[in-house]
C-alpha cells in the first residue's frame, strides 16, 4: 500500500496535481464509484467543521468505503490527556487512511510521521488545507479551460488566510500573474512575495478593490476570520473592509469567475449570486470530486 500523505500542497508535484484534477473530472462525470468497498477510513475532526467534514465523508461513501471517527474532540480520550501520537497510532491500527483536522499547526505533519497509513490534512489551524487548494484549482481549470497564464486577484485577508497562501504556491506551477488586494494590516506576508520573486512571477499590491476588477480572470474573495486574530482591535478595523456587489461587475472580463472558500459574511453581497460571475457554490460542490480523487490517489487506486 502507498504511504504517501497529503499534508501541504507542496507535497504534490505539478504532475500529481494535474493527475488528481483529471481524476476528479472523471468522478464528476460518474459519481457512482465503489472501488474502495471493504476499506475503512477515519475522519478525525479535533475541531468542528461542517463543510469540510461532510464533503470528505460523502467522498468516502461515494467511493464505497466505510467511515469511522468523530466530529469534535470533547468526547475523545484526547480530553483525558492522551497524546496526539497515541490517538493516531491507535486509530492507524484500525483503518486504511486517516483524514484529520486539528487546531494545532503542524499536527497533521506530525500525525503523518507516526501513522502507519496515509494521512490527509483537512486543515491544521492557520497552516495548510490542501484539499481546499486542489478544489480551488479544479474550479479554476473548469471555468477557464486552463491553469496556464491566468491573472488571479486575491482579496481580503491575505495575511492570515491560509487558502490564499496555498493557492499561490500551487498556481506558481502555471505562470500566473497575481493582484493582491488587501488593507495594510492584512497584506500578503513577505515570505510569499519572496517566493514569487524567486520564481519570477509578477504581482501587484493594492488596497483598492474597484481598481483591478476588470483585469482578472479569477477573483478570489476571502473572509476576514475573527478566530485568526490575536488583537481584537485589529479585527474591528478591518472586518468589513471590502464588499463586492453586482454594480461593480459592469466591465469585468466575460470569463471572470468569483471564487470564495466559504462561509462568506459581508464580503460578497447577495446580489452577486445571480450574476454569471458567481461560482462559489459550484466551487464547494467541486470539493466532493476532488476529495474522492485525493483519497483514491493516496490509496494507490487512480
Amino acid at each position: 500500500m502507498s504511504r504517501k500523505s497529503l499534508i501541504s500542497i507542496g507535497d504534490f508535484s505539478k504532475e500529481e496535481i494535474l493527475h488528481v484534477l483529471e481524476t476528479a473530472k472523471e468522478f464528476e462525470q460518474n459519481k457512482e464509484q465503489n472501488f474502495l468497498e471493504g476499506k475503512v477510513i477515519a475522519s478525525l475532526f479535533f475541531e468542528p467543521s461542517t463543510r469540510t467534514r461532510l464533503s470528505f465523508e460523502t467522498a468516502i461513501n461515494r467511493l464505497g468505503a466505510k467511515v469511522i471517527g468523530f466530529s469534535d474532540a470533547t468526547n475523545t480520550s484526547q480530553s483525558k490527556g492522551e497524546t496526539l501520537k497515541d490517538t493516531i497510532m491507535m486509530v492507524s491500527n484500525y483503518v486504511d487512511m486517516i483524514i484529520m483536522r486539528h487546531p494545532l499547526e503542524g499536527s497533521s505533519r506530525y500525525a503523518s510521521e507516526v501513522a502507519s497509513v496515509p494521512v490527509v490534512n483537512a486543515g491544521d489551524g492557520a497552516n495548510q488545507h490542501p484539499s481546499q487548494t486542489l478544489l480551488d484549482l479544479y474550479s479554476i481549470l473548469k471555468t477557464q479551460g486552463t491553469l496556464e497564464g491566468l491573472t488571479i486577484n486575491m482579496v481580503g485577508d491575505l495575511k492570515y488566510g491560509r487558502t490564499t497562501h496555498s493557492l499561490l504556491q500551487a498556481m506558481s506551477h502555471f505562470n500566473p500573474k497575481f493582484i493582491f488586494t488587501a488593507p495594510e494590516e492584512l497584506k500578503m506576508p513577505k515570505e510569499y512575495k519572496a517566493f514569487l520573486d524567486s520564481k519570477g512571477i509578477e504581482y501587484i499590491e493594492t488596497t483598492s478593490l474597484e481598481d483591478n476588477l476588470n483585469d482578472c480572470d479569477i477573483l478570489y474573495m476571502t473572509r476576514v476570520q475573527q478566530e485568526r486574530f490575536t488583537d481584537p482591535m485589529e479585527y474591528e478595523r478591518v472586518k468589513d473592509v471590502y464588499t463586492l456587489d453586482a454594480s461593480m461587475l459592469g466591465n469585468v472580463k466575460e470569463n471572470m469567475k468569483i471564487l470564495h472558500p466559504l462561509p462568506r459574511v459581508t464580503e460578497i453581497n447577495q446580489d452577486v449570486d445571480e450574476t454569471p460571475f458567481a461560482y462559489y457554490f459550484k466551487q464547494a460542490e467541486n470539493g466532493l470530486y476532488v476529495r474522492m480523487a485525493i483519497i483514491s490517489y493516496l490509496l494507490g487506486y487512480r
Partner: protein, 150 residues
C-alpha cells in the same frame, strides 16, 4: 605570552571554543550539554574582541567533540572558532558549518505550533540570509528568526 592567555589559563589537552558572542556563552554550554560533565571547564566572558566588541571563550579540558555536535553552535555563534589542543599546542583549527537541519534544541516561536503542546522534538531547516539565520519549522511551516529561538 598574550594578554588573553594570561586571563584564561592554558589547556594541556582539550577543546577551546573562541569568538562566541559574550551573551551566548551560557547558551553554548547548554547546546553542548556541558553542565553535567566532569571535565574542568574554564569560561571567559566579556573579553575584548575585534569582531563582537565583547566575546566569550570556553575551554574544556580532555574533551573532544564530533563535528555535528560543534556545528549546532553555529546557530548562536556563527563566527566561533574551534581549537583542538594536545600537549599545550593547537593541533587543529576548525570553523563551524551551519547544519541544514536543527533537531531538538531550538523552540518554535509560533504559539499554535504542535511542538509547543505535545511532547515532540522540534525540527527546523536553517535558512541563511547574510548574517541572519532563520529557522523553518518542519511541522507548522512558520519561520522563526534565530534571535528568538531560545
Amino acid at each position: 605570552m598574550t594578554h588573553e592567555e594570561l586571563v584564561v589559563s592554558a589547556l594541556e589537552n582539550g577543546t577551546v571554543l573562541d569568538h562566541i558572542p559574550a551573551e551566548n556563552v551560557y547558551k553554548a554550554l547548554d547546546i553542548l550539554n556541558l553542565r553535567g560533565i566532569e571535565s574542568q571547564i574554564t569560561i571567559g566572558i566579556n573579553l575584548n574582541s575585534k569582531i563582537y566588541g565583547k566575546k566569550g571563550i570556553i575551554k574544556i579540558a580532555d574533551k573532544f567533540f564530533e563535528d555535528h555536535e560543534l556545528n549546532k553552535l553555529a546557530l548562536i555563534a556563527p563566527k566561533a572558532t574551534v581549537n583542538i589542543i594536545r600537549d599545550f599546542k593547537v593541533v587543529e583549527k576548525k570553523k563551524l558549518v551551519m547544519p541544514e537541519e536543527i533537531i531538538g534544541i531550538a523552540k518554535c516561536r509560533n504559539p499554535k505550533c504542535v511542538t509547543n503542546h505535545q511532547p515532540i522534538k522540534t525540527r527546523f531547516t536553517t535558512i541563511a540570509e547574510g548574517d541572519n539565520i532563520s529557522l523553518l519549522c518542519h511541522f507548522c511551516e512558520k519561520i522563526t528568526s534565530s534571535r528568538h529561538i531560545f
